[in-house]
């Protein structure tokens, strides 16, 4: 049996040496004259084990990690290509069957079912692991019924806003126009998030399939993926995947032989956080400054080039194929309350076992951080976690029993955002973090509305005075007033949500603002 050896090509895995490991594997295969093939898969999302090398055996895939290039030769010597590890010769890096690793086994991977498993650029691999089954079903359905299926699944926008995907699609479907667009928001700018990047690098066809289904549902025939420039590897993978999908007949004038057409083009951002806001993204795609637009009109009515446009996050679109394949009910049965399906949590920052956790909505912050994450990487006590990116609230240890769903986080003054959780130990200074939130808003403000453009700069100044103990009581009052103004008066979520990290820091970590 020809052995397949997997070494991730995911950029996070590469950042800790996966390319050198892959080269070493290729050298050993050649030098030993082995009947084996090297596959650069995506990442399983267990980043503390990267580079994670896997060998396909009769007993399933056996994992080894984290592997250094210098250890590869020893792995071959240990008999890793035999049918499973040989008794008594098991290598110290052997993790056993990858899918039996508790961290992975406890997850419910629907959107990420193939990520880290398949060769991301192999259509054959994609199809043999359930790919394009959702599209096949959608091609046999009326557009109206596809929209109804997505609506019934309860899927809500995973980019952060949590807007019901089905309603957005229905609006675009109902709008009359000569052209409509599907735009994928791949401007994943929130610190602590990388789910979009993992999908684009590890299973790009699922995104293309989701976009194609969105086109069939709404009557759009053209799609754009707006990928941030900080993700050069993801962008290259998208470009290659798009070319392969065209060559295989899954994109273009005759999608999967159906006579229906759908085109996709990937575009690169240019380093502006605000372009993750959907209207700023559309402006940028049209070739202008990424300034937000007034709403209404909604992009679903007047979006890209003035046409009805679906703007969905990568994870939302990448979840559509499994919904079409397995049915709305299957998907809706995961989750809790009004948060249906699975959530892709990204554990980040000062956490021992950081990575991608996909599981039904409802896991608590504590289960995520201690159960999956194993606590802090530094070993020091956890002091704060920021949930939902730079516009998300800072929570203290006392709120860790909050479940991770849209409503529960909102009830505690936070947001779920794109599902990123950044862990901080007890060396963090929350007054500094609050100052940074204002500083970031000032740097990234598009300048369209005054509260965000000016208020953020004033916010930095006021927090500096509070830290410097100048008229502290008065300035704390000014800061609260300013936060209220930003919340109520900003045009979009950047100015509107920047007060969340600031005010949560003030509420839960008041002592950090009282140092002399």
């Amino acid at each position: 049996m020809k052995r397949r050896i997997f070494v991730p090509g995911d950029s996070a895995a590469v950042s800790v040496g996966a390319d050198a490991v892959a080269q070493a594997v290729a050298r050993e295969i050649a030098a030993r004259g082995l009947d084996a093939e090297l596959v650069r898969n995506g990442s399983r999302g267990m980043f503390w084990l990267e580079p994670l090398l896997e060998v396909e055996t009769e007993k399933g895939r056996i994992g080894y990690g984290p592997v250094a290039a210098g250890e590869v030769s020893g792995l071959f010597d240990s008999g890793m290509l035999d049918a499973g590890p040989v008794a008594g010769r098991t290598h110290a890096l052997c993790l056993g069957p990858t899918e039996e690793i508790a961290w992975l086994k406890q997850q419910e991977r629907l959107t990420f079912a193939r990520c880290g498993v398949t060769d991301p650029l192999s259509i054959a691999d994609y199809v043999s692991h359930g790919g394009y089954r959702g599209l096949a079903r959608a091609l046999g359905m009326a557009g109206e019924d596809i929209v109804a299926e997505v609506a019934a699944s309860g899927l809500r926008g995973r980019g952060g806003a949590g807007f019901p995907t089905g309603i957005k699609w229905q609006t675009v479907r109902d709008a009359a126009a000569d052209r409509k667009y599907i735009v994928c928001n791949a401007d994943e700018g929130d610190s602590g998030t990388y789910a979009d990047r993992m999908i684009m690098e590890g299973d790009p066809f699922v995104l293309l399939e989701g976009m194609t289904i969105a086109g069939l549902a709404t009557g759009a025939t053209s799609g754009y993926i707006y990928c941030r420039s900080e993700y050069p590897h993801a962008f290259r993978m998208l470009q290659r995947a798009i070319r392969i999908a065209y060559d295989s007949g899954y994109l273009g004038a005759n999608v999967a032989g159906s006579g229906k057409s759908f085109d996709v083009e990937a575009r690169l951002g240019a380093g502006a956080y605000i372009c993750g806001e959907e209207t700023a993204l559309l402006e940028s795609l049209e070739g202008r400054r990424g300034q937000i637009r007034f709403k209404p009109p909604l992009p679903a009515i007047e979006g890209l080039f003035g046409r009805p446009t679906v703007v969905n996050n990568v994870i939302s679109l990448a979840t559509v194929p499994v919904i079409l394949d397995r049915g709305a009910e299957f998907y809706r049965d995961f989750g809790t309350g009004r948060s249906r399906g699975t959530l892709t949590i990204q554990l980040a920052g000062n956490v021992r076992r950081g990575g991608l956790v996909e599981t039904a909505f409802g896991l608590t912050l504590r289960d995520a951080i201690y159960g999956f994450g194993g606590g802090t990487a530094s070993g020091r006590p956890l002091r704060a976690v920021q949930v939902g990116g730079p516009l998300g609230a800072y929570f203290p240890e006392a709120l860790l029993d909050t479940p991770l769903d849209y409503e529960a986080l909102a009830a505690n003054g936070g947001i779920l955002g794109h599902g990123g959780i950044v862990v901080f130990d007890d060396t963090v200074d929350l007054a500094r973090q609050a100052r940074y939130a204002m500083e970031f808003c000032a740097m990234e403000s598009c300048g369209k509305c005054t509260p965000c453009r000016i208020g953020s700069t004033r916010g930095v100044e006021v927090i500096d005075r509070i830290i410097g103990n100048q008229e502290r009581a008065n300035n704390l009052q000014v800061l609260n007033d300013l936060c209220e103004l930003l919340t109520d008066g900003s045009l979009c979520a950047l100015g509107g949500l920047t007060p969340l990290p600031v005010q949560s820091a003030l509420r839960h970590f008041a002592e950090d603002f009282q140092r002399s």
């Binding site: 996070a12 900080e230 980040a348």
Partner: protein, 163 residues
């Protein structure tokens, strides 16, 4: 390595012509020019404006809006150091201070020998392996001060430079 090549109007016009028919062509054109020359020369602005039937002010406005676009050549190597929250939680400010001290530049600056431009970046999507940086598009995770030193030394050695 981003080897900045000197400005050449003919090459610029060729790149513009390849892309000018795209819907929303301005960003792809500016990115192509940036890739070609390592920055966007002032002389490119009227060429781009003319090709897309825009005012020069509009083109200037777009170049100025996006953090990626440089108006003058940068160093041979682009070192992007992440300063966002996940990396903050793992000491990226100490790492940035080390980079600044080692290279003698502030964030955004270029070393005197023209070898490195240091840019702050707000998230590289490598947040489970913080602190993170990217050198000429190559990602590095769990970065220590020693690793930064060896990356800098390697780049200088390859360039035949001495330190």
């Amino acid at each position: 390595m981003s080897e900045a090549r000197s400005w050449n109007a003919g090459r610029a016009e060729a790149r513009i012509r390849e892309l000018e028919k795209l819907p929303g062509a301005l960003l792809p054109i500016l990115q192509a020019l940036h890739e070609e020359f390592g920055y966007i020369d002032d002389a490119a602005v009227p060429l781009v404006a003319h090709a897309l039937n825009l005012s020069q002010a509009e083109v200037h406005g777009v170049i100025g809006f996006y953090h990626d676009f440089r108006r003058s050549p940068g160093g041979r190597h682009r070192l992007q150091v992440c300063r966002a929250e996940a990396c903050q939680a793992m000491g990226c400010e100490r790492l940035m201070a080390h980079v600044e001290a080692r290279l003698g530049v502030k964030p955004g600056g270029t070393t005197d020998d023209g070898m490195f431009t240091v840019e702050p970046v707000y998230c590289l999507g490598n947040c489970a392996l913080s602190p993170a940086l990217m050198l000429d598009g190559r990602p590095y995770g769990r970065v220590s001060a020693e690793m930064v030193d060896s990356l800098i030394d390697d780049a200088r050695r390859k360039a035949g430079g001495t330190e």
